[in-house]
Symmetry: C2
Subunit: 131 residues, 2 copies
Amino acid sequence: MNIGEVAQQSGLPPKTIRYYEDIGLVNPPRDTNGYRAFRASDIHKLSFLGRARALGFTIEDCRNLLALWEDKTRASHDVRVIAKEHLTQIEAKITDLQAMRDTLSTLVRDCAGDDRPDCPILQKLETLPKP
Amino acid sequence: MNIGEVAQQSGLPPKTIRYYEDIGLVNPPRDTNGYRAFRASDIHKLSFLGRARALGFTIEDCRNLLALWEDKTRASHDVRVIAKEHLTQIEAKITDLQAMRDTLSTLVRDCAGDDRPDCPILQKLETLPKP
DNA sequence: CTTGACCCTCCAGCTACTGGAACCCCCATA
DNA sequence: TATGGGGGTTCCAGTAGCTGGAGGGTCAAG
């Protein structure tokens, strides 16, 4: 199967698929004309990658998950460790963003947003405590 | 004032300060020995930048905010637009991450995390609906 | 035979820095 | 006066994860 169709099926752009081959996440064979000839297993892998990436796993995480996925004898423990670690990071990011949001929404609320030059947003950016 | 002390005061690493000069966010004059000689206004600007970046504003946002900050006649409206836009983006990001967290924490909860190979995490990564 | 939709590779650029090499400068001490 | 250490300087390269574009080959339809 050519890359275009694979892109459709996996939901990944062709550029991304080529990139994933570049960094060794997939390794489709080639036709005589040089076109990549994706097998069912490649497509399956790419879909897996798409979902893992959509969950915010890094490429390195994906590489590890893929290895575990292919190893039918791995312990679920190993997978869980990666997922849990990632979950922790996501939660930290959420907390960060929520703090930003709270500060920002206060600022936005307090700013008249009219023609006058007084602006609490800029004022606070001068005086906010350092993070 | 030399870059090291400015780094202390502003909370930004020297490398970052040089980078900010590179991209034109600050423009400190030079001593005869070639050292950057930061003025009070430069330090003030850098602190402003540090706080804006900590709130997640992009460099381009910062450039705009800085321009508005220096323009004593600007309308608070202009600032508010940038902040609100940014707030919307942050909220979208939070929503995204929360969705990820929910999915992931379900997966982690359902995974035994023991020596056996059965792992719902990998199973779901095979079958989850495409994002 | 041409057209247009594919496919290929390679190179550059994006964000916001960060690390490192190679070198210069200033001050204090032996 | 030499020297050592802790500043400072520039420039180059690399990070993550793609994305855009140039310049070219391939294939099926008309």
